[in-house]
């Protein structure tokens, strides 16, 4: 199993929640202090470098118009890590290609970064969260279609060798496409796609990409992974564990108290997301049937996960405690979901200090990481 350390690079220095309408889309940027922000960037980059030195891989992402993540341009952060890290593979998870206006530019950015880090890049594609329909101004009902058209175009950019091609699709048009540089890894870096639904897991399985799912607990994660495995099985193919990825909040301490205290800090990620309904559920983002369900249940999307640490650990949304405990929790999760090959570990959020983030990384790397091989021996190599 590979571990990937990540932070969303939040800006936690906010007034009480009732002082703003939404932490996303409309939160005034007068609340952002560049002096504080500059230090946040420096600290997070230092943590990714610490993860690299500890033998972990790193993961970066982007969000827009939000204090929960001040990386609105993931290739900028990925390129910083491409030159600052030495060994780690760098996962961009991901490029919100449904919302990007220029997929060819995404192909160029990723190819360039892959060269800058001598082929250590892994490229994720994501549809983007619903709150980003407004900032990106993309018709919500079009986003799934745009994701897959952009995907088709980007893959063609990387695979085309002979001559410029043209593309006049439903959403994107180009008259001469001829990407320089081409990726360092041939024909292209490993591809990841995120999913929260079984039909989408099936589709990703059809391509054989890594399917990644986030913070949904072992019950839902197994459904997603099973859908992927069933698709591969229908296609007459096996599913090596390295095709399946899961993201959780992870904090490993020297003591149980330290591990749990770190995890409590990470819960900021779950609790600091005040977003009004019009941004959480723009018309067309989820299917009509899901909206019928939302009216019937009074709730959009899955049931909230709560903030009880023991319950979150039980579900596999948080892995926390001593190295022994985290390894045990991971092993149990691994068995419950039928195996998986990538742990995306959100190890810093909110107000966690740089020193605490680095301690969590080091305890995981020295105490947990060497042991995951024992229960995930069947994990294959990355494609």
């Amino acid at each position: 199993m590979k571990a990937w350390y990540c932070s969303e690079t939040p800006y936690p220095d906010l007034p009480p929640e009732d002082a703003y309408e939404s932490v996303r889309v409309t939160i005034p940027n007068s609340l952002y202090d560049p002096e504080v922000g500059a230090q946040i960037y420096a600290d997070r980059i230092a943590e990714w470098c610490a993860a690299d030195e500890a033998g972990l891989n790193v993961m970066v992402n982007e969000h827009h118009q939000t204090a929960t993540c001040i990386v609105p341009a993931v290739p900028v952060m990925a390129s910083a890590l491409a030159v600052r890290t030495k060994q780690a593979r760098i996962l961009v998870l991901g490029n919100p290609i449904a919302n990007r206006r220029e997929p060819v530019r995404v192909a160029e950015e990723m190819a360039m970064i892959d060269n800058m880090c001598h082929g250590r890049l892994e490229v994720g594609f994501v549809r983007g969260v619903p709150y980003e329909a407004a900032p990106a101004n993309i018709t919500p009902a079009d986003t799934t279609d745009r994701l897959w058209e952009a995907h088709d175009l980007i893959m063609r950019c990387w695979e085309e060798r002979n001559e410029p091609f043209s593309w006049e699709g439903r959403h994107f048009s180009y008259r001469q496409v001829n990407v320089w540089p081409r990726p360092y890894q041939q024909p292209h870096p490993p591809v990841w796609v995120t999913t929260t639904s079984t039909p989408n897991a099936d589709r990703i399985g059809g391509y054989g990409y890594v399917a990644a799912t986030f913070l949904i607990g072992h019950v839902q994660a197994k459904k997603i992974f099973d859908a992927y495995r069933e698709r591969r099985s229908r296609d007459g193919l096996d599913t090596p564990n390295d095709r399946l990825a899961y993201c959780a909040l992870v904090y490993t301490g020297a003591t149980e108290a330290e591990g749990r205290a770190g995890a409590q800090e990470l819960l900021w990620y779950l609790t600091s997301n005040k977003v009004p309904i019009q941004f959480r559920n723009p018309p067309g983002y989820v299917p009509i049937a899901a909206n019928v369900q939302a009216v019937r249940t009074g709730r959009v999307g899955p049931r909230p996960v709560g903030t009880d640490l023991d319950e979150l650990i039980e579900q596999g949304i948080v892995f926390a405690g001593t190295a022994d405990q985290v390894a045990g929790q991971l092993e149990r999760f691994y068995e419950r979901v039928g195996g998986f090959g990538h742990l995306l570990m959100l190890g810093h959020t909110g107000n966690m200090s740089h020193a605490d983030a680095v301690r969590g990384i080091e305890h995981f790397a020295s105490g947990v990481y060497p042991r995951v091989g024992a229960f995930s021996a069947s994990a294959g190599a990355a494609a």
């Binding site: 889309v25 409309t26 407004a134 101004n137 993309i138 018709t139 919500p140 009902a141 079009d142 009004p276 309904i277 019009q278 941004f279 723009p282 018309p283 067309g284 009509i288 909206n291 019928v292 009216v295 019937r296 009074g298």
Partner: protein
Amino acid sequence: MDGFECVHGGDGTPLLYLHGMRSAPAQVAEALALLTARHRVIFPTIPGFGSAEAVDWVRSVDDVSYRYLEWLDAAELDRVVLVGSSIGAWLALEMATKCPANFPAVILASPLGIRTGPPDVRFYPDLFSMSPPEVDQLLWADPDAGALDLPALPDDELTAYLRDREALATYGWDPYFHTPSLVHRLSRISSPTLIVRGAADGLVAPEAVAVLQDGIPGSELVTIDGAGHFIDIEQPVRFAEVVTEFAANAIGENLAPPVGGRG
């Protein structure tokens, strides 16, 4: 015609009634009944709204207008009173600017569809960034009367309502509730044209209808009290009166109550 889902009824000069943000005929049953007393009323559902299937290539109000013009041609309807509300008025503008001769009277209630002014000034407030109570406040003279009790709706009506919402966003997200070129071809509308504005409409401001009135030669404006954006739902009697009177004058018909009509 395939994909042209509509209800219709009545006799007299044909009247094409293009729905607003809510597509269900039941929502405007009273207005429909009053109009049907004088006209052969055709009330189609825009593709993607209500129970009407979406059509893959129909992605804009401009696309819908060609579909409807094609349908009128096929039905040999070349002299039709054109009435639209909200997005339906936007569609009516698209149709009337393309084939002005086919529509002897054009009635635009709460009209969307155009835009002028500086890029950083909203021509229509951003409905999609407002909370549901804010939306109700903006769109209704009486928000309590207009708001639907969604959990109480049966599945088919709830589904149709949610499809209305999604279709509105799909046609109107970007460009926001307008066709950029439309404002530049308004002068093609040569028939008598009436613009109807609900006095409490927070979405279509007086300034917005003024732009329309300036652009359409000889167009008239009526403001209806006690109505917001959904004039045909909040003031159906007044709405039907205004429509039938204007249409009768435009096409030179006598407004004596028809036999059996509801007058």
